[in-house]
């Protein structure tokens, strides 16, 4: 019977509409309770500090085979780059852009995060994903299997068999203990198996003869047919290329006419991930420019969409994505080392190191595009902070991203380091934006919003009684915000307190306990479907390198599961 009272903090909880009121938060047995019901509580004095729910990251590459390739092929990412020696943790904390599992868990906890959604799980390699989830301390994890280039999905959707695709999706979520439908460069990664790509959303996939647009629409229909907690999570076609905002807006339009159908409070049918990489104008690197305004005009006007930023943090990092053709393209631009892999019937992946330099015009424009997306947004409950870790920058830079969003002075300070400042200002709108976000909006972008979009806002992302007692306290006084923006960054880098599941986990920025972490997955009950059963059997017999019996995740790989049940048979 452990009780805890977090007293007198300025509480920001967008899920309940609480905007910095001075309140007490009660905790009993790992859940949030009314403070009045506590009898013998230990007290945390949060006077003069900001209290939020534990952070929720909607899109981050932290576990699985391609992350591990990044760790293996970048020994230089560890050398002299992770000097921090925690006085309280004895596990190996190394790596900068691709940290070790232990460093990943500890660093998220130090920033006050409790839930991280792994952005791309190759279904065939789900055991690896779950083993790394087990080894990542403290934070709860979910992982989304990739569907956008899966042979089953392509065949069902080509024949417009939504019900069969739904049955297959339910089967694969269970086989991989997955969380939702991730789509990476729909069709393009499959075309990469032929050395090709899908250059726009109407460019058909070789052999399958289905277009990316049809794949995305079919998956939205599948997702809403099943009523999953999260929506389709889309990495659009043509990532990272000048002029791609046209393809992006066309992809956004695919969601028109669809309404969310679920029991989890989710209001979008399509989540656009790392939108920064998809909001570029121009037709070459020479006249590369921001089109964040055009993209955001569309997003602001359509309630059934959410997005995360994918903010470039101007660091040396490691790109890794299931967008195989893109990584090859990137390698031919920067001539650094390159790893690529094809995952049988399912997906592909690539890894290339990348340096976002303030001396390079394209990089500083990318930096501006990400911030513009957030600053042009009219609804912060649909706008989430990410760096597409580690693609646009490491997740440990979220505090810096928050500071840029909260302070024009911090943005100006960074822009002073740009070699091509005038050209960057000409190609973007960043210099004309004075907007500074407040702590309530930051709470929307880092906890309440992502939790709602993931369909887990009954458990994570808020401070209402009955929810998990995940509470982050930051040494920031909203009535007396620091004049130096770097103090904001410091406060968000190392939270004063983190309580996870009612256990005091971080104090003064140091991890002092490791509460049991969970694996969150979605179990969908669907009616028996003999045709899909037979298709799965046939494909494994003919095409897979593993037997069907060995494909599904064995229970011993699954660590401390928290199952979200969806029943479509009712």
């Amino acid at each position: 019977m452990s009780e805890l009272l977090i007293r007198n903090g300025f509480v920001f909880d967008p899920l309940q509409g609480i905007k910095g009121d001075r309140m007490d938060i009660g905790v009993k047995d790992g859940k949030i309770v009314e403070p009045g019901t506590l009898k013998n509580a230990k007290t945390i004095d949060a006077a003069g500090m900001t209290v939020m729910a534990g952070g929720v990251d909607i899109h981050s590459h932290v576990v699985g085979p391609k992350v591990n390739v990044g760790r293996l092929f970048r020994p230089e990412d560890k050398l002299f780059k992770s000097p921090y020696k925690s006085p309280t943790c004895s596990r190996m904390e190394m790596g900068s852009s691709v940290p070790s599992t232990f460093k990943t868990g500890y660093d998220y906890a130090r920033m006050g995060y409790v839930f991280v959604n792994e952005a791309a799980m190759p279904p065939l390699h789900s055991p690896h994903v779950h083993e790394e989830i087990r080894d990542t301390p403290i934070i709860d994890n979910a992982a989304m299997p990739v569907f956008g280039n899966n042979w089953f999905t392509l065949e069902y959707l080509k024949n417009n068999e939504i019900e069969n695709n739904a049955a297959y999706t339910a089967w694969l979520l269970r086989a991989t203990r997955g969380f939702g439908i991730k789509v990476v460069n729909p069709g393009g990664s499959e075309a990469w198996g032929w050395g090709l790509n899908c250059v726009n959303i109407h460019d058909p996939v070789p052999y399958f003869d289905i277009t990316p647009a049809e794949i995305v629409k079919g998956l939205i229909e599948t997702n809403e047919f099943l009523g999953l907690p999260h929506s389709v999570h889309l990495h659009c076609n043509n990532l990272g290329n000048p002029g791609n905002y046209v393809d992006t807006i066309e992809s956004l339009k695919l969601a028109e006419g669809y309404a969310p159908k679920n029991d989890f409070g989710r209001e979008q049918v399509l989540h656009l991930t790392h939108l920064q990489f998809h909001s570029y104008g121009g037709d070459s690197w020479g006249n590369f420019e921001s089109r964040a305004k055009d993209v955001m005009d569309y997003v602001n006007a359509h309630d059934n969409l959410t997005f995360d930023m994918g903010q470039v943090t101007l660091d040396e990092t490691t790109t890794m994505t299931a967008d195989g053709p893109f990584e090859h393209h990137l390698c031919s631009l920067n001539h650094l080392k390159w790893a690529n892999v094809d995952v049988e019937l399912e997906t592909a992946a690539g890894v290339v190191p990348y340096i976002y330099s303030p001396k390079v015009k394209v990089c500083t424009i990318q930096w501006a595009v990400g911030l513009e997306l957030a600053l042009f947004s009219k609804d912060m409950m649909r706008t989430f902070i990410t760096t597409d870790h580690p693609n646009a920058g490491p997740f440990t830079r979220y505090p810096q991203v928050i500071t840029w969003l909260m302070s024009r002075a911090a943005r100006d300070e960074t822009m002073k380091t740009f070699k091509w400042l005038d050209k960057t200002i000409d190609a973007t709108s960043i210099d004309s934006i004075d907007r500074e976000l407040d702590l309530y909006e930051i709470a929307q972008m880092t906890r309440a919003g992502p939790a709602k979009a993931l369909g887990i806002s009954n458990t994570y992302g808020g401070l209402a009684p009955g929810m998990d007692a995940d509470i982050a306290v930051y040494a920031l006084n909203p009535e007396n915000m620091p004049s130096d923006p770097t103090d904001i960054e410091k406060a968000f880098s190392r939270c004063a307190w983190l309580v996870k599941d009612g256990i005091v986990t971080v104090r003064d920025g140091e991890v002092i306990a490791e509460p049991a972490k969970r694996t969150v997955w979605v179990d969908v009950k669907v009616p028996e479907n003999a045709q899909v059963q037979r298709d799965i059997y046939e494909h494994f017999l003919r095409h897979y390198s593993v037997k069907l019996d060995n494909y599904s995740l064995f229970d011993e790989h699954l660590h401390n599961p928290r199952v979200i049940e969806v029943d479509t048979t009712q």
Binding site: F73, R74, P75, E76, D77, L79, F80, H335, L336, K337, P353
Partner: protein, 266 residues
């Protein structure tokens, strides 16, 4: 200039990790404070004074500090690692990583050194009177930004993988070099006054290599384009001029394709 003399009186059983032995760390410290600096032997941390007797104090700055190492340092690694200024003289042999990631100052080794010396070097001078083993002036494992600047001079011979990913700076080898010289090089100069075994300049994009003797197995990716007379390391000689590695990408600068140059003396 103030001199700190370290004499190895109690030899380590394992290799000693001596990355604290730099003018930067000794500057502003008295002899007793220097003797208290950490060194690692295997997994055990000990004070420097357990192995060395320390005579003399450090000067106020690294520039003014000179370190002399006496005794058999064959099993002392990482002397002068990441140093930025000052001087180190090693009277005998030394182990691996001497002058690794060095930014400035000078190291003079009067005996031989082991592998990985001068890796990731950015500036300064490393002089070895004897021989060096593998990965001299090379890039650290996984790193594509190798030696950036500075000078490495080895009077004797070197083993393999010299100057991998070299970007700048100069390496002068008085004797012979084993296989792999300037692999993936994108700048800098390597001068081999003896013979080279083979794979000289493999996947090289930019930069220069001079070989005074013979190359036992030259690479087919290098093509002879003529003969030139050049002054190298203070003496003028005639060289056959090759460009390459033709199997690798090459940047174009001012309308001209840039190749790596390989010169062999005739």
């Amino acid at each position: 200039m103030k001199t700190v003399t370290l004499t190895l009186t109690n030899s380590p059983e394992l290799m000693l990790e001596g990355q604290n032995i730099t003018p930067d760390n000794f500057a502003g410290k008295k002899a007793a404070e220097i003797a208290a600096l950490d060194v690692w032997e295997g997994k055990q941390k000990s004070p420097l004074g357990k192995y060395f007797t320390v005579e003399g104090d450090g000067a106020a700055t690294a520039e003014e500090t000179k370190i002399v190492l006496r005794g058999d340092c064959t099993r002392v690694k990482r002397i002068g690692q990441q140093m930025t200024a000052g001087e180190i003289v090693i009277e005998g042999n030394a182990d691996m990583y001497i002058g690794g990631w060095m930014k400035g100052g000078k190291i003079h080794v009067k005996g031989d050194v082991d592998s990985f010396c001068g890796i990731g070097m950015e500036g300064g001078e490393l002089v070895v009177d004897g021989n060096a083993k593998s990965h001299l002036g090379s890039s650290p494992r996984g790193e594509w930004r190798g030696m950036q600047g500075g000078l490495i001079r080895v009077a004797g011979s070197v083993a393999n993988d010299t100057a991998t990913f070299i970007n700048g700076g100069t390496i002068v080898i008085g004797g012979d070099a084993d296989i792999h010289v300037s692999t993936h090089g994108e700048g800098g100069t390597v001068i081999i006054k003896g013979n080279a075994k083979g794979r000289v300049g493999g996947q090289m994009v930019k930069g220069d290599i001079y070989v005074y003797g013979t190359i036992e197995n030259p690479l087919p990716g290098f093509q002879m384009v003529g003969e030139v007379e050049q002054e190298v390391d203070g003496e003028t000689a005639r060289f056959a001029h090759y460009i390459g590695d033709l199997g690798e990408r090459h940047p174009v600068s001012k309308g001209k394709t840039v190749y790596a140059n390989l010169y062999t003396r005739i």
